[in-house]
Subunit: 340 residues, 2 copies
DNA sequence: GGCGCAAATGTGACCGTTCACATCGAGTGG
DNA sequence: CCACTCGATGTGAACGGTCACATTTGCGCC
């Protein structure tokens, strides 16, 4: 029967020390794997820790070392989608593996107030680094304005903050999708873009336009959407009032789904009447009707690399930059040559 | 021009005190909104804080109060799906509003080791409460075995840990869906269930069986799936080899999607040949082809209430239990009476 | 056998807050 | 006019670790 620590408080390093018959510093050394500790004492200390169910007090450690080992994730409302949450999950996993903790702040809205509230929330926890998964332009403006003193990384390349960016090459992905449609023989291709202030939406749109112009295909102005299936549906209905296109490149899978809904509902067929290609390759895309041709992004890998980069920054041991992640075109049944 | 704090360290309460010409305790009182502080001193202190860009050191505060104001979320790999991540988002929001922080641990796998690692990760951060969104039976077994000393809540009712549970009434939802099919005239209904060790899967299955037997409809054994669209697809193909059913109740929308994929691919029609109803009402469900009849759960509300319950537990000011959240049947185009 | 040196351990201060308690001054009632 | 109360503020000691430095111990070597 071991003597409990006096107060209701949890056992401290000194309680352990007393019971093991050593000084508190020795216990600390065991905790930190200091090399010069005799094996026998180490074992004795560890055993007492076990008995006492001792857990190091993170607050105390944090206080003296002024390191929180905490990483903050700033996520936009879109964080509930498959892509972002896969990345968050991978981030948490990678961080934990490296001995870091992860805390999240979800942005309710994207107004400047919410953004700075979110950042503030993270900063007040003394996070050592921040991952931004809220790829709106104004989020970066806000970050720049607040002159954040901790390292941060964003999952999307910004053009503004190149150093901190890591991303799937969205432009290349969009070109892949567009080229696929052009090679199938389409000449009248619409682009259903994402919200204009989203970095990714912008990149995908640029990729689309670049490929179209590179292949000398005339383009019409992209339609600016909001990422939702509902918008894809409404846009599709609108578009179908004048049937002057044979293919649509949607900048995400959800909008592509809504679009196909509108097309099928109008009694047309995909891909015979209209080809559709999406972006992201969410797990459901393979089972849409028809199964969606899309561009796959490795969200998990993105999350992992992002932590790699960030921790490299924090420890100031610059990790070699491993380059962008290349997206991959997944051809399924929603695309075919145009019928004439 | 204000004198900076000597070392590279951040300004402390004492730095503020010195510059404001008061004691450190007075600064502390301002920080904690102590009533008996003269308005003028309060303002002076606040101004110095502003000048110095002072931020209270959470570690120090944590150390002395032994309160972390941190809530841990234990999420399963399924946390990347719409439902769970919506709940997490709502949890974070609600927690933040109450002055709490949220940290997450994602379970890589559901083996006992991962589970206790995840819990350990949270506990080592001295979380004051835990929300479990990993509704496998064994997670609860692990929790029970570890005799966790902090309050916790789970988003799914368990039967085992009733006190800590808060949930959408899955059984009622499943009965709603099943009754809908029966009322349409279906008598041969299959159930595509979730993994057997998932609390929710079990509840939905029980609801299905209960309603079937209440209405005297003969049942066949449910098919145990894994929540994925891929499984729904394969199960559908298998099922269609013997076409002895007119309706399927899938225990989530993703499997319903895969199922419909298999049905349409086989040249059959939904709902004319087979009716399908899902569960969850993910945002895409309205744009599946055909738009899916399903059971809506308010994930965000779930998250909010969950924090309400948990914080009530932490502050020991028992919040009146507000009862389960009722799910709602959303009828769309994937269900109709059987064709004879 | 004493010396030196490294390994193993101990000592006390300090990190930035809050807590318990002390102090100080202004009003107030007898 | 003095004791008393109460509002406003100050003082010093925790909290539980780590850090810098001091001290002891063990051991090889001349």
């Amino acid at each position: 029967m071991t003597m409990e620590t006096p107060k209701g408080r949890a056992p401290s390093i000194r309680d352990v020390a007393r019971l093991a018959g050593v000084s508190h510093q020795t216990v600390s050394r065991v905790l930190n794997h200091h090399p010069s500790i005799r094996e026998s004492t180490k074992e004795r200390v560890l055993q007492v820790m076990e008995e006492l169910q001792y857990r190091p007090n993170r607050a105390a450690r944090m206080l003296v070392t002024s390191r929180s080992r905490m990483i903050g994730v700033l996520a936009s409302a879109a964080g509930v989608h498959y892509g972002p949450s896969s990345s968050i999950s991978a981030i948490e996993d990678a961080a934990r593996r490296s001995g870091y903790y992860v805390t999240v702040a979800h942005l309710g809205a994207v107004d400047p107030v919410s953004i700075s509230e979110g950042l503030d929330h993270l900063l007040s926890q003394a996070v050592e680094g921040i991952v931004v998964i809220a790829p709106q332009v104004r989020v970066f403006d806000a970050i720049a304005a607040m002159s954040i003193s901790v390292p941060f990384v964003t999952l999307q390349s910004t053009g503004i903050l190149e150093d901190h960016a890591l991303s799937v090459d969205q432009i290349a992905g969009a070109r892949l999708a567009t080229r696929h449609l052009i090679e199938l023989g389409h000449r009248s291709i619409f682009h259903l873009a994402g919200p204009p202030d989203w970095i990714e939406a912008d990149a995908r749109m640029r990729g689309f336009l670049a490929e179209m112009s590179a292949q000398d295909v005339p383009t019409t102005a992209p339609i600016l959407g909001d990422w939702t299936a509902g918008f894809g549906y409404r846009a599709g209905r609108e578009l179908l009032r004048v049937r002057d296109f044979t293919a649509v490149f949607s900048s995400n899978d959800q909008m592509a789904l809504g679009l196909m809904h509108a097309i099928l509902e109008a009694g047309l067929r995909v891909p015979e009447d209209v080809s559709v290609v999406g972006f992201d390759d969410i797990p459901e895309a393979a089972h849409f009707w028809p199964p969606l041709t899309t561009v796959r992004q490795d969200f998990a890998e993105l999350g992992r690399r992002c932590i790699e980069l960030l921790l490299g920054d924090i420890d100031e041991a610059r990790i070699p930059y491993r380059g962008n992640i290349q997206p991959e075109l997944i051809v399924r049944a929603s695309t075919a040559g145009p019928a004439f």
